[in-house]
Symmetry: none
Subunit: 250 residues, 2 copies
Amino acid sequence: MLTPERHRKIIEVLGEKSVVTIQELVEVTNSSESTIRRDLSQLQKEKKLKRVHGGASLTQQKSEELSVFEKSERNSSEKERIAQYACDLVETGDCIYLDAGTTTLKMIPYLKDREITVVTNAISHLEALSQHEIKTYLIGGLVKSKTKALVGSSAIKSLSSYRFDKVFLGINGIHIDAGFTTPDPEEAALKGLAISLSQKGFILADHTKFHETSFSKVAELSEAIIITDDIDDDVIYDFQDKTEIRVVTS
Amino acid sequence: MLTPERHRKIIEVLGEKSVVTIQELVEVTNSSESTIRRDLSQLQKEKKLKRVHGGASLTQQKSEELSVFEKSERNSSEKERIAQYACDLVETGDCIYLDAGTTTLKMIPYLKDREITVVTNAISHLEALSQHEIKTYLIGGLVKSKTKALVGSSAIKSLSSYRFDKVFLGINGIHIDAGFTTPDPEEAALKGLAISLSQKGFILADHTKFHETSFSKVAELSEAIIITDDIDDDVIYDFQDKTEIRVVTS
DNA sequence: TTGGTTATGATTGTTTTTGATTATTTTTGG
DNA sequence: CCAAAAATAATCAAAAACAATCATAACCAA
């Protein structure tokens, strides 16, 4: 990715969110932390943004939201560990499905040189997949312009012609009664189908997702294995006869 | 490829994408890296663009000037006129298929606010389509990492679930006996299928493509209408009882 | 055709950019 | 306030991109 392209993207993301972490920018641009730091320094010199500890913010921005931003930053390394653990489950020759989402995006670097096949509905994953030379199939479907993911009935139909050894999904809510849930019904249907097409389904979710419920049901708890970071023992106790939970210790 | 033609092409690509790598330009123009570097140096001297490490970007201009610049560039190209003519054929409510390729990419700006549906196999078209708020379906398939297009049997299968009012394809060779041909067999199969799924097929081709033959056959001349720029009358005479040719006059 | 000119692409050594590593500073939680 | 953890800055080697150079190919006019 070319320097001005990166700079523009950084400004663009900042325009939408007004604060951004370095990690986010690393993901969005597929560059290293060092490069992003250099970019931020330069852009700050050009008065395009203001550097803050952990990332950057718009120049006229108050430091009010900083605490929220710090929190999300802390989750990032946990998500990284979850992603890494998930990749340890992938075996040579596997055909896996990668859902759209930041956690699954983090998996991609760990999948390099693994002789596997990836199927995905995430257009935003393609750059990273291509960069790491991973054989990739994209399902068809309607392009959801905001999230750059493929959805809709044609996506459902396209997805159903594949079978997977393993699928890896992000999720918004994990609840004893409601099961796995996510806000968008179309994405929920796709996620649910992916699980049913696979021999083993894995849900990647940090501890904040437990006891949460979102609008659309994806699947029952029993249909997939949860990979998460350190959670309270009583949460595990609550869920343990409903599903399998693997805790990634830090 | 002649120097002024190359220069025009470089400016065109830049107009669409605002940043471009030298490698991309090497592919688009079929010239060497050295030549492209010389071109970029010269164009920079003429203030047509700004060189950056790895490629070139638009000179920093305000968005108004940019669109004017873009527009004037647009009209100057023969391919641009072909693209514009092609878009005039599209009617409200149409569902059309856009092939991967530079000529079809040029069509996209003219399709804005037209209440149509686009289906494509070109991941590289998505940015422009999304930017112009055009409802877009992507077919599924194997991601061909070099060209960012979808190919293979799964793409064929995915494509065949659609039907089109019109399809627009680029092509490499148009020959009396060999018909429409293109280098890559996988792309040829896809193009051919697209034509057969549509009520009307259009081939967008500048005059240099006539009497040329490439490796893989796409379709017979009679299966699609050719849209081209000014060609000799005797070429038209050669082809006129084989197919329909629409000449875009400058 | 010939001789001169220009454009091209390959090759060379040089410069820039990049990402990893290290040491240092800042932030956080007890 | 202190210690641990995270973020940063500084440094360095590798990779990528660069300019300069050269031989060849294409072109043009005589």
